[in-house]
């Protein structure tokens, strides 16, 4: 038997088509070897099967048609419903699990599922990894050599360009905006597409919350969103308005790169 060889930090990148988007992984090679990358991918597909409103046989669809009760769903359903209710109340109803009147917790589920996928990798022993669900990121540790992850924030007004770069370590970065799929975020109070902001980014510990907060704040429009995100404990925001103006919460600057 050969003697133990020095451990070389080889990283693996993987892109998985799931939940109507692509989830990108940047993980240590150990996560592929020990099966935790595969487990995280299987988890995402399971969450899609259970929570997708586009699948007639998902728990969400059955619940929306009142063909089953919460007790008949996967145990995670109660957790998702409770979290959606919490964010609904915290945001004054700007986040809702019933857009258009029908039960559809998609605005929470993707960020939550990606955060759980990252947690699976952590539990298996990975210290440094990054999971990006269609533009919403949960990361652990850093990019190596003691440096934090560098996350580019897409410029919604100049496709293909970055508005700025933030440094992230053990946290989530979520962005809501109209650049990819048009004006799809509806103000639940008016029923009309939210106006005024081009994109809004939230940074904080949990992607489930950061993603939902970004969606809620985007629906609020520029002025209310600024006041509301100022009050969020542990979460910072950066916004670009339709006219290209920007603002950020005071502690957001901690995430900006020195250059």
């Amino acid at each position: 038997m050969p003697s133990a060889t020095p451990v070389i930090d080889v990283r693996v990148r993987h892109a998985e088509h799931v939940m109507g988007t692509v989830v990108s992984f940047d993980v240590p090679a150990s996560a592929r070897a020990d099966g935790s990358l595969d487990a995280a991918i299987r988890w995402l597909h399971w969450a899609d099967r259970v929570f997708s409103p586009y699948r007639a046989d998902s728990d969400v669809s059955l619940l929306a048609r009142a063909e089953i009760t919460v007790d008949g769903c996967a145990p995670e359903m109660a957790e998702v419903i409770a979290a959606c209710a919490f964010i609904h109340d915290l945001s004054g109803g700007y986040f809702t699990a019933s857009p258009g009147g029908q039960f559809d917790p998609s605005g929470y589920v993707k960020g939550w599922a990606v955060e759980r996928a990252a947690a699976l990798l952590s539990r298996a022993g990975s210290a440094d990894h990054l999971v990006n669900g269609g533009g919403d990121v949960q990361c652990a540790g850093g990019r190596g050599a003691g440096e934090p992850w560098r996350v580019g924030i897409a410029d919604p007004l100049r496709p293909g360009r970055l508005a700025l770069v933030v440094e992230a370590r053990d946290c989530a970065v979520a962005t809501s905006g109209t650049a990819e799929r048009g004006p799809h975020i509806v103000d639940p109070h008016t029923g009309r597409p939210a106006a005024g902001l081009a994109s809004l980014t939230v940074i904080g510990p949990s992607l489930a919350l950061a993603d939902a907060y970004a969606t809620a704040a985007f629906a609020m429009g520029p002025s209310l969103a600024r006041d509301w995100t100022d009050c969020l404990d542990g979460y910072e925001a950066f916004a670009i308005t339709e006219s290209g103006k920007t603002w950020q919460t005071p502690a957001f600057a901690r995430h900006l790169t020195p250059t």
Partner: protein, 132 residues
């Protein structure tokens, strides 16, 4: 080296996406490949595979110093139509500039409005994922 390869991939992906916008007549001529001139010490040239696009074949070469791309050369590009010439004159220089600027940002990932499976293909994240 990983960042450099990333940028090569991004450039080729960008060029292919650009050239795939419209269908193209089969008639084409190809610009003569220009071999890299003698390079200064510490620099070396990496030549990508020929990518077949709707407009014709495209081949890109990058000049690397340490782990940084210092120059992008288009070795092969379609030149048969006025449209081809405009792409060569205006679009290639812009894509090259974007490649060099994305590299200098040294980013690991991109946060932005949620893309669809289809939109992902054209995204900077897609180029990053293919870079490893």
């Amino acid at each position: 080296m990983r960042r450099a390869i990333l940028a090569v991939t991004a450039t080729v992906a960008g060029l292919v996406a650009l050239l795939s916008f419209k269908t193209h007549s089969s008639e084409r001529t190809v610009a003569a490949a220009q071999p890299a001139a003698s390079l200064p010490p510490g620099e070396r040239a990496i030549t990508g595979n020929v990518a077949d696009t709707a407009y014709g074949p495209v081949q890109v070469q990058v000049v690397v110093k340490a782990t940084k791309i210092v120059k992008v050369n288009i070795l092969e590009q379609p030149t048969s139509t006025q449209n081809d010439l405009q792409i060569g004159q205006f679009a290639f220089p812009r894509l090259i500039a974007e490649t060099l600027s994305a590299q200098s940002a040294r980013i690991d990932t991109v946060s932005g409005a949620t893309y669809t499976s289809g939109g992902y293909v054209k995204s900077l994240q897609s180029a990053l994922d293919n870079g490893a």
